[in-house]
């Protein structure tokens, strides 16, 4: 199949299905905790390609490369900081090979995760170092055959800015999602609405923005509602976890069933998302159920939170938009 540009495919289709989890599926395939999944691009390319292949067979229109921790600061934890180019080129090539093997367009999205550093002014990490690291990774992903740079699981404004600026230098379209996992906000305190607004002031305007990971499908839909309300013009991504992780007989199991994820996909569409996928715990089986659901679904009315809760599970008070009042302090004493 000849390659189609991501913006063209977006224009041609009402919705696109992104893939499911990478890390949690690799663990089912033999990855040991503590090992860098990115090394599988060289050590077990057949497994990396196999997961891509299964997601494509399940109906994915977009597959994310195995490069989430592929920036020099994450790779440094495995003493691989000098292999950024190798890792990302190999990751993109593995995905490209499977995308090109089917007779329908499949977009290769170059996954870019956070550095794990805390940016200035709160931390010590500089904007320039961030930009350089993200630029390095994005270039390699492009070189390996990525169609779009997919910046995900971001939590801070400063890192998001650096990531988009760095990634923009490779010239590919950019998608960026944040993880809203703390009281309806990101860990660094950004609300979905604030993210929507911030995304209009980045180095380039992203082709799509949205939410990934977080704390379960219901809560993710609540954050998607926040983003689509603030930015009705934006292409919005919903890539939520497959329910909640539970501990059973010594193993972690995600609570989401294929039926739940199918319903999550329908509600995501009704909430205004146009790119739907799964994050942690989402297997190819879950994704196949989501594809079937999306094919059969006609976009319905924007759901109320009560309906989201009834169908997918509880949403935290703060994610419902019931923000707590700031502390009432007597500010007359100073300044």
């Amino acid at each position: 199949m000849s390659r189609i540009a991501f913006p063209e495919l977006l224009k041609a289709r009402p919705w696109l299905l992104a893939d499911g989890a990478t890390g949690t599926n690799y663990f089912m395939m033999g990855l040991t905790s503590g090992d860098a999944p990115e090394m599988w691009n060289f050590d077990h390319p057949e497994r990396v390609r196999d997961l891509h292949k299964r997601f494509i067979a399940a109906g994915a229109d977009i597959i994310l490369t195995n490069s989430f921790g592929g920036n020099r600061y994450r790779l440094k934890l495995h003493d691989l900081q000098d292999r950024v180019a190798d890792v990302n080129i190999a990751a993109a090539k593995n995905a490209r090979a499977e995308a090109d093997a089917v007779d329908r367009p499949v977009i290769v999205a170059g996954s870019v995760g956070p550095t794990g550093e805390i940016f200035q002014p709160v931390g010590a990490f500089s904007h320039a170092d961030g930009v350089a690291a993200f630029e390095e990774q994005a270039h390699a992903l492009k070189q390996g055959g990525a169609d779009v740079i997919w910046i995900e699981t971001m939590s801070g404004k400063e890192e998001l800015e650096a990531a988009v600026e760095g990634a923009s230098k490779c010239g590919l379209p950019i998608v960026t999602t944040m993880s809203f996992d703390t009281n309806g906000c990101t860990m660094m305190g950004i609300t979905p609405a604030k993210f929507g607004e911030m995304a209009t002031h980045l180095a380039v305007i992203p082709a799509a923005i949205g939410a990934n990971c977080g704390t379960g499908a219901a809560e993710l839909i609540a954050t998607v509602l926040g983003i689509t309300e603030a930015r009705p013009d934006a292409v919005v991504v919903a890539k939520g976890n497959c329910g909640i992780p539970q501990y059973q007989d010594g193993h972690i199991h995600y609570s989401g069933t294929p039926e739940l994820m199918a319903d999550y996909a329908r509600i995501a569409i009704d909430s205004g998302a146009r790119i739907i996928g799964g994050c942690c715990g989402t297997s190819p089986d879950h994704l196949a159920a989501m594809r079937v659901a999306l094919e059969a679904h006609t976009k319905g009315a924007r759901p109320q939170i009560a309906e989201v809760e009834a169908r997918l599970g509880t949403v935290s008070d703060l994610a419902k938009g019931n923000a707590p009042k700031p502390r009432d302090r007597d500010r007359d004493r100073r300044r």
Binding site: T32, S33, I118, G189, R334
Partner: protein
Amino acid sequence: MSDAGDLDLNTLNDEELTQQVHDDLYDGLKEEVEAAVHILLGRGWTPYKVLTEALVEGMRIVGIDFRDGILFVPEVLLAANSMKAGMLILKPLLAETGAPRVGKMVIGTVKGDIHDIGKNLVGMMMEGAGFEVIDLGINNPVENYLAAIEEHQPDILGMSALLTTTMPYMKVVIDTLKEKGVRDDYVVLVGGAPLNEEFAKAIGADSYCRDAAVAVETAKSYMARKHNQLNA
């Protein structure tokens, strides 16, 4: 304190100045906190009183608002940095005066897990509450925990994991403590994004701490219980 409109901390009475330290911690104003600590010491406050009434109480308020979703990680990091600056002044004085010890904690991210932001936050908030914290860093096999509790004899052992694939390792550590017959010598607190209360119970930890503020409150309540038992 360079702006012309700045408040002169020296003009405040003790109560006002204590309030001001709480506010300055809340706002992450390091220099102001340092200045106030010096002033309070200069007025004859014991280092322990400055620690508990000005710094620890200020951080307690920060912790409450972090727990309630009013403050987030950036504000808490700035507050903790200011607290640390104040502590730096007090630390040698506290040692000299033989002030009571709040408690000691060994903390680390478990084997296979390289995430540390949450763990660092707990460490800082625990220091903010006056605890002595020994931070083992990331990716700790059970041997590291054993060696550290042997060396430091903490009251509390804290374990952190961000991954669903690494959190079961906490059970390995707890089971090893049981085997060695020392499990009950320590309060074991666990935390991390994918954990919950049921998990903590299932692996035999004392408590699950949803966030850094809860960790501090939980640690304090265990220390109070321990104190009461010793004095019973």
